[in-house]
Each structure stands twice: as C-alpha cells, then as structure tokens.
C-alpha cells in the first residue's frame, strides 16, 4: 500500500477529491468534442462544403476562435486541473487548500469557458490570438487563476526539504500562467499600441504554450511515467537541466511569432537563438525519459497509458525539431503565414499535450470509477485513430504550407495558391473526421464504463 493510500484511509478528509477529478475530466472531454466540431466547421468552409453558411451564430470565423479557445481553456485547463487534483495531494501527502474552494473554482471555471464561447459567438472577441476571451471576462479569469494558484500552492509550499521534479514544474507554472495571462490580456489592450503590442502578443501566445501548457504537461509526465514503469527517472541531473533550461529560455521565445515585422531586429535574433536553445533543452528531457524507458520497452506494447505518453514525447521531439528550423529567418521567408504553422500547432497541442492527457485519463478512469475499461479494444481504437490522424493532418498541412509559401513567393496569382491548397484541405477534413471518430469512440467507451461502475455500486449497495 502506498503512503498516499494509507493516509487516505486514516484521515477523515479524503486526500484526493476523486469526484472532482472525474468532473474535470468530463468537462474537458465535453469541450474537446465541441472544439473538434468547431475545427471541422472551419475545415469544411475552406473546402467550400460548409452546409451551414450564412448563419451569423455559426460563422466559421467565430467558430475558428472558439476552436482554439475551447482547446486552451476548455480542454487543456480542465484536464490539467483534474490531473493536478489527483497528483498534487498524492505528491505532497496533503489535501489542497480548501475543498470548498476546489468546487467553487470548478464551477467558476466552467462559467468562464462557457461565457468565453458565448462571447466569441456573438462577436465580442478580443483581438489577441489565443486570448480571444472577451475583455469583460479577462478579470474574472485572472482572479480564477489566482485562486487556482492559492489552492494548489498551499500543499506544495508545506512540503519540507527539496521537492520532486514535478513540483518544480507545477510551482513555476502557477506563477507563470498568472503573469502570462495578465501580461497578454491587459497590456496590448489598454497600454501599448502597434509594434510593441505585437511583441507582447507574441510573448503571450508563446508563454501560454511554454509556461502554462508545457510545464504542467512535463510535470505530469515526471509524475506518471515513473509510477507506471515502477522505477525512478533515469537521471536527476538531466531533470535539473530540463527544468532550468526551460525556465530560462522558454520565456525569451515569444517574438519568433512575428519575424520580419517592424519589431527591432536584435530582438528577433534573440528570440530565434532562444528557440534553438529550447530545442537543445528539450532533447535532454526526451533523452531522460527514454533512458527511463530503457529495459522496459515492452510496456509500450502492453501498457496503453505508457504508449500514449511516449508517443506524445516522440511528437514533442519532432515539433521542437521542426520549431528550431522553422523559427530561422530562412524558413520564415517561405512558411510564415502558411498552413505549415497550423500543422505545427496541431502536432503540439493535439499530438503532444492532448495525447498525454488522454493517456492520463486512460490510466485514471479505471481507478476513479472502480471498474476496468468497458472495452480495451475501443481504447486501442481511440489511440490509433488519434495518433494516425494527427500525424496525417500535421504532415498534410506542413506540405500544404510549403506549397503555399512557394506559390506566394513566386508571385503566382493569389487564386492559384488557393486552388493548390484545396487537395490538402480536403485531406485535412478527413484527418479531422478520423480524429473526431477517435473522440467519439472514447466518449462511448467512457459512457459504458461509467454505466458498469454504477451497476457495480448498485450491487454493492444491494449486498449491504
């Protein structure tokens, strides 16, 4: 019996609020489904098969913003919060600050996400990429992030002595997320204009990836991978290099989103060099995890969550390698503004972080619900549909981006570049459909599992 489980049985307050973990995961899955439908609508518009054209509330332009925001704040944030509610108390052997606050945050956050979606759909988006949350919601979300930080930092700060790697990432992420959100949503909206607003906007887009999603994602990997493989992380030294390298270089990357703009050139060079440095840091982290896997390679085949995690890591290495190249001025000349970037974004956000979170859910749901998955085969389908389709989508869009870039640079008429994109966009629709199919399989499997869990609970109640 682990120490966490023993504590759980001896104390009156449960260490992990398991019901809340479930709720966060259900919310995350619901928003993921909506986000996928939103992406599908935009994909259909691009190939001119949109059956819902001309309806204001279903405008693809608005749903495109809903797509990215539902992923960031609906799926990723909810799934992370669920996983944090599981892992932080178990790592610190202390419950979160307040059970009441946890539930209040849950409801408040769903309200924030739904209000964001509603605001975007009625045309109130803010002009900040990945932060289109209408400006009247920004302060509420900011306050919510503060509460999240308080709730989780309380048990972490009570830990005596050195902390485990996961907690470095979590602790830093709470501070970074709060500051990133404040910087991006308020400074370019109210205080600075134009080019410098662009620099801040670039920092915001990138810090949201690098200082909110990435540290939480890696923190969770450092927690779950050793547990599943039943051995410690390969090298503590590399863990240190990975964390501190990320902490130093990642915040310096933002401006690489706006290369060749009027932002001063020395800042652009700085951002490019930091981005390449991040790639080196990432390599150390990936080596560390594959070092951990060494000797347990068979788990990839037999242990589905481990396979989700390591697939995500392979994609992570690929996206970062891609990033180190695409951030250079040479690549930028061709690929900036093109679908290459869209492909890259999908590979990171779906191929890495969503896969990890699906892996965590695949691992945790049987523990939370007290029954095995309804169907292991459906879990496999979810895995294969998700990984293959994201790979097809990313490859397809990357290639599309190259075509578009060269069409533009060679001064072909604009329409020619659009016509050339259509076959790629059609393939993208089908890749997206396959991805959505994976999601439906997952939802169905989960529903059946929940039913079995309820039936089991009823039986137990009858027996008593």
């Amino acid at each position: 019996m682990s120490e966490a489980e023993r504590l759980d049985e001896t104390s009156e307050v449960p260490l992990v609020e398991e019901r809340l973990v479930c709720w966060y995961f259900y919310a995350a899955i619901a928003f993921m489904t909506v986000a996928m439908l939103a992406g599908l609508l935009m994909a259909l518009q691009l190939v001119r098969w949109n059956p819902l054209g001309g309806i204001e509330l279903l405008s693809p332009g608005r749903w495109r913003m809903l797509h990215t925001n539902a992923i960031a704040y609906g799926f990723l944030a909810n799934a992370f919060l669920g996983a944090l509610h599981w892992s932080v108390p178990r790592l610190t052997l202390r419950p979160v600050h307040s059970r009441w606050l946890s539930y209040a945050i849950f409801y408040a956050w769903q309200l924030v996400v739904v209000a964001t979606a509603g605001g975007i759909l009625v045309g109130q988006a803010q002009g900040l990429e990945w932060g289109e949350t209408p400006i009247w919601i920004d302060p509420v979300a900011q306050f919510g992030l503060l509460l999240v930080a308080i709730n989780f930092m309380t048990p972490i700060l009570q830990v005596k002595g050195p902390m485990y790697v996961t907690l470095w990432y979590f602790l830093a992420a709470f501070v970074w997320t709060f500051m990133t959100y404040a910087m991006g949503n308020f400074i370019p909206q109210y205080f600075v204009a134009g080019t410098s607003a662009g620099a801040v906007g670039g920092l915001f887009i990138h810090d949201l990836v690098g200082l909110f999603v990435t540290p939480l994602g890696w923190g969770l990997m450092y927690y779950f991978v050793p547990i599943l493989l039943k051995k410690p992380i390969w090298s503590h030294g590399l863990s240190l290099v990975g964390f501190w390298g990320l902490a130093f270089f990642y915040p310096l990357n933002g401006i690489h989103h706006f290369l060749y703009t009027p932002i001063p050139m020395f800042l652009q060079y700085g951002a490019i060099m930091s981005t390449v440095a991040v790639e080196l840091v990432v390599t150390t982290v990936v080596i560390n995890f594959f070092g951990t896997l060494k000797g347990s390679g068979r788990e990839i085949v037999t242990n589905l969550p481990v396979r989700w995690f390591y697939t995500g890591m392979v994609f992570y290495f690929l996206t970062c390698l891609q990033c180190a190249m695409q951030t250079t001025l040479t690549f930028q000349q061709v690929i900036h503004f093109s679908d290459w970037v869209v492909g890259h974004a999908h590979l990171v956000m779906f191929g890495v972080f969503s896969l990890w979170l699906f892996g965590i859910m695949t691992y945790l749901f049987p523990r939370l619900l007290g029954v095995d998955w309804y169907s292991r085969r459906l879990c496999e389908w979810h895995y294969w549909l998700s990984t293959v389709s994201v790979l097809v989508m990313a490859g397809d869009l990357t290639l599309a981006g190259l075509f578009q870039g060269y069409f533009w640079a060679s001064l072909q008429p604009w329409d020619a570049s659009v016509d050339a994109s259509v076959p790629f966009w059609i393939l993208r629709v089908f890749a997206g459909l396959a991805m959505f199919g994976g999601q439906l399989v997952f939802v169905y499997n989960l529903r059946k599992t929940i039913q079995q869990s309820r039936a089991k609970a009823d039986e137990a109640a009858m027996a008593v």
């Binding site: 002009g127 902390m163 662009g198 604009w414």
Partner: protein
C-alpha cells in the same frame, strides 16, 4: 537552490520571467514610446472620399446608420469626420469579432517578393495608433494581406464581396457575411458600412495609395496578344 521552493519560485518563476519581459516587451515599448494616434486623427482625405462615396451610393443605409448630416459646410465636414471615426472603431471591432484577422494579415515583410505583390514594406509608425491596440498583424494568410487594401477596390465591390465572396472571386474559401446587410448587397447595414470603411482605411495613409499589384500578363498570353497584333 535549484530544487528548493524559493529557488523555483523566485529565480525560475519570477526572475527569469522578468528578464524575458524586460528584454522582449519593455525594450520595444520604450523604443516606440510615441502616444498612439487617436482614431479621430486617422481620418484622412482618401478615407473621407470613400466614406462620402458610401453615403452617396447607399443613401438610405447611410441615413439609417448615421442620421441626417447637419446644415452648413463646416458643420457637415466635422460631422462626417466624427461619423467616419465612429465607423472605423466599429469596423475594427467587427474585423476582430468575425475573426477576419485570422485569415488576413496586416503586415508586409521585406522578403519573399512581398513588396512586389502587396506594396511598400510595413513600417513601425503605421501601427502606432489606437486601432492597433492590440495590433492586427495576423499570423495566417488564407486570404490576401489587407494592409494596403484601401482604395484598391470600390465600395460596391466590397459590399457584394462581403455578401457573397464567391460571386466575385470563384473558388474563394471566404464565408458569406449576409448579416452585415439588410437582405441584399445594395443594403449594407450599420455594421456593413463600418467594416467597408475600416477596410478602405487600410493603407489610405500611404504615398503610394491606392496600391495596385504590378500586373503583367503571363508570357503565353503576352505572346498570344502579340500574334493578334501582327494579324
């Protein structure tokens, strides 16, 4: 230090973030510290021409949106400027709300022949105004760059195009925006007029206004033309 709470919080969490913020955000903010130009001062002659053209082309829509102009030339002039600024503000919020900026960029890079296609490379001063808070650089070009779009096409072209883009540009993946109109493309509503005004503003401050793409017929067509001339 590297594994302690204070190390992670103070060095990683705060200090490194602060270094990045100062070097990447504060530096450009201090370099470009001119006050952003207020919207009222962005109304220029080129834009006023387009705005008055809207008033002449769609008199009923215009009256419904902005009311009757006052008597007297000077009052009328001030009134038009005021309404034009109002249209710019609303037009920008629609440009953001409809997600136009996710498919159209507003900056021209000094590479990849962009000058040839779109016109002069974007300068920092062009963005130092209230309509660029937050800046509308954009990150994707599904459709063309719009930073020199003003004056290139007429108001009625834009009206028809917003109503149903494929009518003017077959194969365009741009969605229809019928809610910017009262039923037909010759009746833009308040929002439609504002968005057209905003698009006509883009690049209206330039020497080279209106900017046309350098047009040269493709070699095979040029050759065919020559043959026709010879016949």
């Amino acid at each position: 230090m590297f594994e302690s709470k204070s190390g992670v919080l103070l060095i990683g969490g705060l200090f490194f973030f602060a270094i990045a913020f100062v070097s990447n955000a504060v530096v450009p903010v201090l370099m470009y510290d001119e006050e952003p130009t207020p919207v009222e001062q962005l109304v220029n002659g080129n834009l006023r021409y387009q705005f008055e053209d809207l008033a002449a082309r769609y008199p009923e829509s215009f009256k419904a949106a902005y009311g009757e102009p006052p008597e007297g030339l000077e009052e009328q002039d001030a009134w038009l400027n005021e309404k034009c600024a109002e249209a710019l503000r609303l037009g920008r919020s629609i440009y953001i709300g409809e997600g136009c900026w996710h498919c159209h960029s507003q900056f021209i890079r000094p590479v990849a022949n962009e000058e040839e296609r779109w016109g002069p490379v974007s300068q920092q001063e062009e963005y130092q105004n209230e309509l660029q808070m937050p800046v509308m650089f954009g990150t994707r070009r599904v459709g063309p760059d719009l930073s020199r779009e003003g004056g290139r096409r007429s108001n009625d072209w834009h009206a028809v195009h917003f109503f149903k883009p494929t009518d003017l540009s077959t194969g365009s993946p741009m969605p229809d925006y019928p809610w910017l109109f009262d039923g037909s493309p010759d009746k833009p509503n308040r929002r439609g007029l504002a968005l057209i005004t905003y698009v006509q503003w883009l690049g209206s401050w330039l020497e080279s206004y209106p900017m046309y793409e350098q047009y040269e017929p493709a070699p095979e067509f040029a050759a065919a033309d020559d043959e026709e001339d010879e016949e």
